[in-house]
Symmetry: C2
Amino acid sequence: MFDDVKVVSFDADDTLWHNEQYFLDAQENFWHLMEKFLPAQASGQELMKTELQNIDLYGYGIKAFILSMIEAAIQISDGRITSRGIETIIGYGKEMLDKPVELIDGVDDVLKALDGHYRLVMTTKGDLLDQERKLKKSGLADYFHHIEIVSDKKESEYSKLIQHLDILPEQFLMIGNSLRSDILPVLNVGGFGVHVPYHTTWEHEQIDHVINHDRFVELTTIRELPALLA
Amino acid sequence: MFDDVKVVSFDADDTLWHNEQYFLDAQENFWHLMEKFLPAQASGQELMKTELQNIDLYGYGIKAFILSMIEAAIQISDGRITSRGIETIIGYGKEMLDKPVELIDGVDDVLKALDGHYRLVMTTKGDLLDQERKLKKSGLADYFHHIEIVSDKKESEYSKLIQHLDILPEQFLMIGNSLRSDILPVLNVGGFGVHVPYHTTWEHEQIDHVINHDRFVELTTIRELPALLA
């Protein structure tokens, strides 16, 4: 099935290293801070709404998230949150930006196993500086032949990448935790999609149907990837 | 002098289109908002200090600028600014992100004149989404063979780009308004640097010495570029 594959492309956040958990931790802090104005669940909904409203303007990443938290806090408190409260929110964001990079179990072994057999690529979306910083901190940079950081993972971005790598779509395999960003657009342009679910997925990245496709595989852990390709 | 040049690479902000003026306008609004706490000049210094402190963590671009304005406002007002005041600052930022792209006089003619004779590249730093949006709005995208958006313009980034373009350093010419980001690192890796000053330059981008180099040229307007290369 994978005989033609030449390039294995890895999503980064929640595929190579933990990420969503840091957003969840910050959200929990946010709920607590907002508790005197609104119950946690309603705060969470308001924040999600603000994030989605801002996505076209701000894009993905931590800076966008901080700005949406501040905006939601003003909304939720009807302007009653103090600027010191907002300073606290900025602090949550700076803490996120400064977090160490924790690799997901098995990642290092998998990259070692595939190294030399495939061209390895990292394809991620979000904030350029933040993703570069995480890659550097991860110690994985030397494995990758090419790093692609895009503002959004759409079919057109994958087509451009495949063209840039000078391969055919059926020589391209993408592995990641988001069906919406890592798998569906890749299948649609003719590549292979390998899904490794993370224990939690941002609502915005979720899709509500089952994928049934002959170039699609679902794994339980990234550790299974070398055996799958062998 | 330029016989070997194959790739002409353009900086974007304040070289292809106006940018710094929008930051200055937002800063002026910020000073007015802060006037009841601190005179304008001191506010400006505090904001600049906050921006520089945050550059490693936030990088360049409008979202970083909004976050620094909020932080500086809390600092300047000693926590007395209301959350509605902070909402106003977020509004300045959103307005900046939503601005139309105004081309600098002559840009379209210059790109037309060079098109077909050189590989044209756009090399810019800052926020990925924001720069992509500006390129799209500018109507210039079709001129460019390659778009490079980096988190910072250092020698290593230019070396990588030159390698990626599969040319020699002396076949690479960069044109831009920042001596610090567009010219010095390019001269240092062996390329040509053409400086076109913008009427205003962010303090952080300024250098305090005169450049005297045989691969360096200073122009008054970008309109002079085709004649220079001919």
